[in-house]
């Protein structure tokens, strides 16, 4: 077990370092942070000031080496833009995204799993078709577009919910719906096909021969098996939505990590991006690890190792 944990931790670290190196290289190749940071002017004096302020006059490799060195000491650096330690920046932006991610996960689970089960319980029934159609429809609607339509309808037209922001829980309703429904199609399909597969398994026939039918059969014998792969996909979804809610956060003017990431790209805020990528990778590995644990708890076959 400890071995396993250690192995996972090392993997997380390796993934995090590799991704941060790629990010660093890509960003330095594609933009000039100093020119990005000055904002509305291209006055060379100002650009020079920025270079001096941030030490950007040194070669990228040296800066990356320095970053690694400081990382080893536990220092993730300071944002070029916000001039705060990036960890503080992270702490300011993380709560919004965390809330958003969990709420949208909730939406996904509450919508996708029951739909998938209903669809699989009677393949080719009206329910099944409805679910598949809904999945296709959701999958085919661009997120930002759906976001604007929701805003216009629920916030402007009906006035039920605030348009944008992240101050109250009400602010999270629409974005969580949008973000959550985005992964509904995948999760629903997976639940459906997983359950259909399981329902064809031999042990289901055994259970039916014992006298199980209907809901009891699903609940007591099929669901756990069918949900095993869903857990993994949900973990990936969660891991991604923690870093990937860029579009939603922009549309709803929420100050989360996605927005932070986008702004950091736009402003060449490399330390912040480095931190984001590093932490996201750790979070991702962490979340998938938890999914593995959950799966191990659900599935005795995995428990052995």
């Amino acid at each position: 077990m400890w071995n396993f944990l250690l192995q996972r931790a090392l993997l997380a670290l390796a993934v995090a370092l590799a991704t941060s190196a790629v990010t660093f290289a890509l960003l330095n190749l594609s933009i000039d942070p100093a020119a990005a940071l000055v904002g509305d002017t291209d006055d060379p004096l100002v650009v020079e000031q920025v270079r001096k302020q941030l030490g950007l006059d040194r070669p990228a490799t040296v800066r990356y080496a320095e970053w690694l060195q400081r990382l080893a000491a536990g220092d993730l650096g300071e944002s070029y833009v916000l001039r705060q330690p990036v960890l503080e920046v992270f702490a300011q932006h993380a709560p919004v995204t965390l809330k958003l991610a969990f709420l949208s996960l909730l939406v996904t689970v509450l919508v996708a799993v029951p739909l998938g089960i209903a669809a699989a319980a009677r393949p080719d029934s009206a329910w099944d078709r409805l679910s598949l159609t809904l999945a296709a429809a959701l999958q085919a609607s661009p997120n930002f577009w759906l976001g604007l339509v929701f805003i216009l309808f629920f916030a402007v037209h009906l006035g039920w919910l605030p348009v944008s922001g992240d101050q109250t829980w009400a602010n999270f309703v629409l974005p969580a719906l949008i973000l959550g429904t985005a992964s509904v199609p995948n999760v629903m399909r997976l639940t459906r096909s997983g359950l259909i597969d399981v329902l064809q398994a031999d042990f289901i026939r055994t259970a039916r021969a014992k006298g199980y039918t209907g809901w009891a059969l699903l609940r007591r014998h099929a669901l756990r098996n069918a949900l095993l792969p869903v857990v993994g996909v949900l973990a990936v979804t969660l891991g991604n939505s923690l870093g990937g809610s860029m579009v939603t956060e922009v549309v709803f003017a929420m100050n989360g990590l996605g927005r932070l990431a986008l702004n950091s790209v736009l402003t060449g805020d490399i330390p912040t991006l480095q931190m984001l990528v590093l932490l996201m990778a750790l979070v991702f590995v962490g979340v998938t690890f938890m999914a593995d644990l959950l799966n191990a708890w659900l599935d005795p076959r995995i428990r052995v190792n």
Binding site: N3, F4, L6, Q7, A201, D202, F203, R205, T206, A207, R208, A209, K210, G211, Y212, T213, G214, A216, R220, H221, R224, N225, L228, L298, D299, P300, R301, V304, N305
Partner: protein, 622 residues
Amino acid sequence: MRSSPAPGSRTMALLDIEGLRIDIDTPSGSVSAVRDLDLRVEAGECVGIVGESGSGKSLTALSVLRLLPRGARLTATRMNLDGEDLLALDEAGLARRVRGRKVGFVFQEPMTALNPVYSVGRQLAETMQLHGTATRREAWRRGIEMLERVGIPDPQGRMHAYPHELSGGQRQRVVIAAALMNRPALLIADEPTTALDVTIQAQIMALLADLQRELRMGMLLISHNLAVVAAAADRVAVMYAGEVVETAPARSIFADPRHPYTRGLLGALPGLDGTGTGAVLTTIPGVVATYHGTPAGCVFAERCDIAAAPCRTTRPPETWSAPGHASRCLRLDAIGAPAAQAAPRPERSVGEPVLVASGVTRTYRQRRGGWRRATELTALDGVSLTVRAGETLAIVGESGCGKSTLARVLLGLERPDDGSVVVGGEYLSALSGPARARLVQLVFQDPFGSLNPARDVHAAVRHPLDLQRGLDLAERNARASEVLDRVGLPRRLHHAWPGQLSGGQRQRVAIARALVTGPALIVCDEPTSALDVSVQAQILNLLLELRERERLSLLLITHDLAVVAHMADRIAVMQQGRIVESGDARQILQAPRHTYTRTLLAATPRLPAHAAREAQPRMALA
């Protein structure tokens, strides 16, 4: 199936089915899977159903619990269980009153019949809790009791085990225990031992027989293995293409088969005594047909060698040849005495060694994740053997003893850690892939996995030649066609896709593919264990014929001692990676020295002629 021709004398049977008909909607139309079937099982009686694959055995069994596949429609004039009308029960009623309660069911695949994510204990206890026949605690206690009864060591501890922690035989025991939790009146066992080793098969069959007698259950035993049914059943029904063609007390059906189909099945079985080595087996040509709608005549007419014109237009009525012995055949009069097996072929000469393996050792390192030390598993431990030109060497042994590993090493698919393999005078390890392919080839167990679905038959057979250098396409094509002719695959199938072939046909293609490079040795890993007896006979005949004609050497790996007895010149018995006994086939079969060999022989079921139970029949017929 009426147990007596006199309709008036009907007694209350445990299971009484009359006029069963099952149709299945498929994309290509409605398939008539079971027709006009009558079946009775008395309390305490064991009825066996035999027949080739696809003849409707499983559907018949499943219809009792109405667990038919989607799209299947069931009709029957009568379907009573223990006095209760099953046809009047709806799904919920069946689930509540019949399934798992009055009827227990044991399925074929022990590996997948248990839910992998729940403990054995839970899966045992739930049967009682579901039906409210016991409290949680009582159910648990009974679970332990049943585990003990089916012979699982440490039943208390095993209640907490998960299916993957049990061996196949143990799992099948758990499935049986689960089926018996509520003391059902009827136990239905569909191929309960097909997936198991012979030794374990013997144990399970003995267990079922004991339990049946002890609990005075009725039992419906389904198997394609005639010997298994012969050993356990009181009465036997032979099914063919959805109909019962013959039904009789177990003894008389083997001693005096009436229907040509039954006779064909029996004739196709190789004998175990080793005397028949090399004899040609009788075969039933063709495969089971599928009917859309009711056939006009006899369902077997297509494959019957004594069929006459009326057979194709008139449905044969049930004819009683003896009390309790009925068959459906218009030409009973044309049937003579059961065809005696042809005389054994003359002794054959063997030549130079084509394969010499010496001291072959192979160990597997099993990583257990993380940095834990890898454990070593010695799959082959200093195996030495020789195969001579024209000779057939059989390797027998229990599952996991290393037979397949040995085959892989001999084929050069895997390098031994130690020891050497010389084929045709050359070290295997020094040969290139194509060069090796000209010396050794192989035929597999699973005909469905052995052909690439993306290649047609001709391309599959040509493929090994494509990898050889120096043959142009025309030559390769010609050679492939020629080999396909030699294995007797009809020309119209030369460009068929594997999905369109039957198992026997596939196996022919696989043999053709092995022959195409003209190898000196063919390794056959369980070449017939996935096939029906009639098809097995065809394949065995083909192998024998090729062996004679081309002076092929065969290395035959199999569980089935009857096949071994039929084919092998010499036998090597393996246990735990070692060869524990080897020598002349006849000698080993008649006077085995090693205990393991003896166990193996004892476990192999035989037809009544050889069976001990023949002496003391325990049939109770009405």
